[in-house]
Symmetry: C2
Subunit: 338 residues, 2 copies
Amino acid sequence: MLGTMIYGPRDIRFEHRPDPKIVKATDAIIRLSATCVCGSDLWPYRGIQPITQPTTMGHEYCGTVEEIGKQVKNIKPGQFVVGSFATSDNICAICQHGYQSSCVQREFMSAAQAPYLRVPLADGTLVATSDHPPKELIPSLLATSDVLGTGWFAADAANVKPGATAVVVGDGAVGLLGVLSAKQMGAKRIIAMSRNPSRQKLAREFGATDIVTQRGDEGVSRIKELTDGIGADSVLECVGTQESMIQAISSTRKGGYVGYVGVPHGVALDGEQLFYAHVHLHGGPAPVRRYLPELIKLVLDGKINPGKVFDLTLPLDQVAEGYRAMDERRAIKTLLRP
Amino acid sequence: MLGTMIYGPRDIRFEHRPDPKIVKATDAIIRLSATCVCGSDLWPYRGIQPITQPTTMGHEYCGTVEEIGKQVKNIKPGQFVVGSFATSDNICAICQHGYQSSCVQREFMSAAQAPYLRVPLADGTLVATSDHPPKELIPSLLATSDVLGTGWFAADAANVKPGATAVVVGDGAVGLLGVLSAKQMGAKRIIAMSRNPSRQKLAREFGATDIVTQRGDEGVSRIKELTDGIGADSVLECVGTQESMIQAISSTRKGGYVGYVGVPHGVALDGEQLFYAHVHLHGGPAPVRRYLPELIKLVLDGKINPGKVFDLTLPLDQVAEGYRAMDERRAIKTLLRP
């Protein structure tokens, strides 16, 4: 088959790769209905995360089961499945506590920008739908695999409760779906920080009540003005830079919650500053597997439409253009069709 | 009157000071039954926190109300009161959320190692008992003012729940009362990290089920051995150094909770390391005022005896020896009687 590889900064190639095969008895092979480019794929693409050798790319996926290993019991060939970007056995003590993305057997998926994919720990990683979903729901189902699951975790980690005031730092696809998640969890006021008109528009569609265009100290001052001077109950950090992290912590009221899901790059937190900020801080790789059944149901029931973050759809062989469009912020998120 | 001042590292003087007076209509003056030396007083004493000018010391107190300002309504002269080390109006939005130690009007108390003390925001800071308590309960009531309240917050911030496994990093008075707090909150297993025999003994009295003497990576390995390889549900960080903070985070299971109350000195947290640690992190100055009514009741009902952390009692004029004994770890905590 042909699959996606990165060779170096801004060097994405779609080239011959071995067809994936069952390696362990707990594996499944799936034929992808759709895959996409993640904001986190831009870290190596931009050279911020080093690439030591040509590497497969892609970790968001949904599709049809082609083949299963001998020990796979929950998943059958022919079923439509969605899986998390992190594999999990879903039975270890960490999984039982709901942190499947830190499962003792975790592997991060990394070859999903391809027509076929090997999924390790299929029983604990994949969730099957009862029927094959209609085609128009594929983008939203694909979104549950990571980008929605991650925005959802940001809102959950930020303890968004009915009536709360939530702030979302970052207007990428995760941040926008953080807005959607906060809305679903009952936030009364949702302040999206964005200076991009098309992203502001989508944020409002997803439930944002206010937009703040300022950043850094000015952004924090504006949030304080909007929250009686004390800051927000819940802040979702969806970027991963030092500036965004400090902006998030400083926008939170004393005793409030910061949920952070942007993979930190060059972030260092001063202990004393954090101490007096008095916030709750929680984040990490989103335990998408915990949320998948609920999120898939919300999509199938037509309650949410997270697939709207895909504002560019390309055939898989144009994957390099998909990266370029996101890098240049021409696209929020690129969906790829094998 | 005579009161305590610090002039420089290891230079504590007990000298003439002006008698405290009502300055604002919301103040009260109290005559202290007892005061004490805090672990955090050792930061300036040891020169780790700079002293720019001679400064009054002490922030833990209980005693009898002598005089009140014209606007004070909840507290009457003659009543026995305990107050938090941080003043609070107890009515602002931050206080209403239970974070009185970050009250918009907060001041940190700093002249309590003296026979008389001015307490600002008396109505929102002090809690009166219905009767004058018996003398033997004074040490335990004094403890609620900070050291117990802080250990309690560590356990609360670390989300200690019935049946949980808790680890306490730090065997100072706060850590030891963190053990007591975790026990009260129903922890099934409480692992105290200590290499000091007398502190280990008190930790066991307060409810520790296991003692770990190793520190750093070795300490973390030992905690993992004791917790099925995954780490503890709840970890109380009661020191405030880089080593203790990393030890606490690394001892926590994925998805678990770190409550940190040691005032951080030179602590820097790496964002990426924290992200993959996957823990909840919460701490800061303990909102003692939130807990005071409950803690005072536990003491008066004879349910807890936190005053046991005072293993040295001195007349107030020997305050300098009280500091020395703690600095040299000859005493866990020094109670001072005016």
